[in-house]
């Protein structure tokens, strides 16, 4: 997981009109003017200032930008950002492949909708399968010959046109020599919403696909060589069911919302959102917690003004609060939700209707209890333990620094229980828990009070301790030292100590 992973619809223009396109017609030419190349550079500068580590260019079709596309990649790479892109692959002739490699792109994801022209062309248009296969073959041959460090991924969206022989995609990917295959879930969004009757699969059909895929990718049965497979079309619970019933195992795919934690989304006009879904018109003006979802443009704001804006911060509790999922069945009692392995899009909870994850309900009927954490916890490594620091380093802190105001910047926090606060540091992608007193102290950090001010407030309230006041003060100072060390707070000397 990158520290900050930005998805950027760099253009709304596209040479195709795929029937499942998630962008649909939201980027019509008349709805706004797209950014100039200089403006795109300005945005990359701001992302670099914001310590963004990777940018994934999407669209539309990014390669519609012609030479500008390569300039953007080169510019991002020159700023130390890992650049990748998604494409329909139709522009990947030999000249473009060379330009891509020379620009320093590190990942390219190409859409192939099925193992045959029948399934692919039904989604993307006549003749597109033949062309894209030929282009991908040229690409993999080029990067192999020239030893280019470029990861090639194939994305496939599971739908009615490809489900019958979808497992043959594994053979196609192996034949093409790509690095990775993602099988994705169809989103009820964009053109897919309009064409849903032509695309949607029943629960039984998806379960059937899952079984066939598990059999095909199980390393006990087949050698996938170095091909990485991500089953992002299904849920961990379905994987459990197949292992139990058939013994076939596909990789465990995390299905987690990362919006505003490590993920940000930029539209072709420079507006930045917590994710691509929240950017849809239906959520504009909606409240998350007490904050309004609103577009903020990177040409008008710094990256941090947006990244640390109110609604970005409010998404963290939305993702981790049990209340969010109370109407999600069976997520509201599923172990994978509790374990943080599967957190379906929390935005659905903003509507009051019940959300039914049909495949998981189907599985629950078959396997019974889905809430038992004990068995799973054996297999999930959890990094835990109290955070500590270096005692010499701690002792070296000058006493006046304890009178600097304590500030929190961009750290996501959520009071999980009455006596636990969960923190997420988006700069390091690490999660932390604070205990009861830690929670109390965290609540007192307001950007104005110093460590000393906070200690004074607490010492007067505490009616008993098994240690002296001085020892308690030391404990608090040490706690703040560890918070600083983990990058969760800063001590600002903007206000000089008296």
């Amino acid at each position: 997981m990158a520290v900050k992973d930005i998805k950027w619809d760099i253009t709304g223009k596209c040479n195709l009109s795929c029937i499942h396109c998630s962008a649909g017609d939201k980027y019509t030419p008349e709805n706004s003017k797209e950014l100039s190349l200089e403006e795109k550079y300005e945005i990359i500068d701001k992302l670099a200032e914001g310590r963004v580590t990777s940018i994934n260019l999407l669209g539309g079709e990014p390669m519609m930008l012609g030479n500008e596309f390569f300039s953007i990649i080169r510019y991002g790479v020159s700023k130390g950002i890992q650049m990748s892109s998604n494409t329909n692959g139709l522009f990947l002739n030999n000249e473009q492949i060379k330009k891509l490699a020379d620009a320093g792109i590190s990942g390219l994801t190409i859409a192939i909708e099925g193992p045959s022209s029948e399934s692919h062309d039904a989604i993307r248009g006549k003749g597109t399968f033949k062309k894209v296969i030929s282009n991908v073959r040229s690409l993999t041959e080029y990067i192999s010959k020239k030893n280019v460090p470029l990861e090639i991924t194939i994305n496939t969206v599971l739908n009615r046109h490809n489900y019958q022989n979808i497992e043959k995609m594994v053979d196609l990917c192996l034949d093409l020599g790509v690095d990775k295959w993602n099988l994705l879930q169809l989103g009820y969004i964009g053109f897919a919403k309009r064409n849903i009757a032509d695309l949607w699969l029943s629960t039984e059909e998806i379960i059937d696909v899952s079984i066939r895929i598990a059999k095909r990718v199980d390393p006990k049965i087949n050698d996938l060589k170095n091909l990485i497979f991500e089953p992002r079309f299904t849920y961990p619970l379905v994987r459990d069911f197949i292992i139990k019933e058939y013994g076939w195992e596909m990789p465990l795919s995390k299905n987690c919302c990362t919006g505003s934690l490590t993920l940000g989304f930029i539209d072709p006009f420079g507006n930045m959102f917590a994710c691509d879904r929240v950017a849809n018109d239906e959520y504009k003006g909606t409240k998350i917690g007490s904050s309004l979802i609103k577009p903020m443009n990177l040409l008008d704001h710094t990256f941090y003004e947006i990244w640390n804006s109110e609604y970005f911060l409010e998404i963290f509790p939305l993702i981790f609060d049990d209340v969010t999922y109370r109407n999600y069945e069976p997520c509201n009692h599923c172990k994978y939700l509790k374990m943080g392995i599967c957190t379906p899009c929390p935005l659905y909870s903003l509507d009051t209707e019940k959300i039914m994850v049909e495949e998981c309900l189907f599985v629950e009927k078959k396997i019974g209890d889905i809430s038992n954490l004990e068995e799973q916890n054996k297999n999930v490594s959890q990094v835990q333990g109290e955070c500590t620091g270096d005692i010499q380093e701690y002792k070296a802190i000058k006493s006046f620094e304890y009178k600097y105001p304590v500030k929190i910047s961009g750290i996501r926090s959520y009071k999980k229980k009455e006596d636990i606060t969960t923190l997420f540091n988006p700069y390091t992608t690490e999660f932390f828990n604070l205990n009861l007193m830690g929670t109390k102290i965290w609540d007192l950090i307001d950007g104005n009070q110093s460590i000393y001010d906070i200690f004074v407030k607490l010492k007067d309230k505490i009616t008993f301790l098994l240690i002296s006041e001085n020892q308690f003060e030391e404990k608090i100072k040490y706690f703040f030292y560890v918070l600083t060390k983990e990058g969760l707070i800063t001590l600002s000397n903007a206000r000089l100590p008296p």
């Binding site: 333990g385 109290e386 009455e418 007193m437 830690g438 008993f464 301790l465 240690i467």
Partner: protein, 76 residues
Amino acid sequence: MDEAVKENKRLVVDRIATSVKLDSAEVEKVVDTFVLEAAMPKIFRAGGAVSFLDNNCNNNCKEELAMAALRSMEIR
């Protein structure tokens, strides 16, 4: 432990024991755990179990005790 701290602790234990109608020895055990686990600020890496309430609320009586300990600190 200095005398003032000991005295403070005794007062708190007595107060809680009276309010929850339990033996002082049992209350003292919970208070000791509380001070050890929850009254000192701590930060854990993800997965670290830190809920004092969860750990001490196995039955109604313990829950009452745990809550009384929290109340005694006036930070609920």
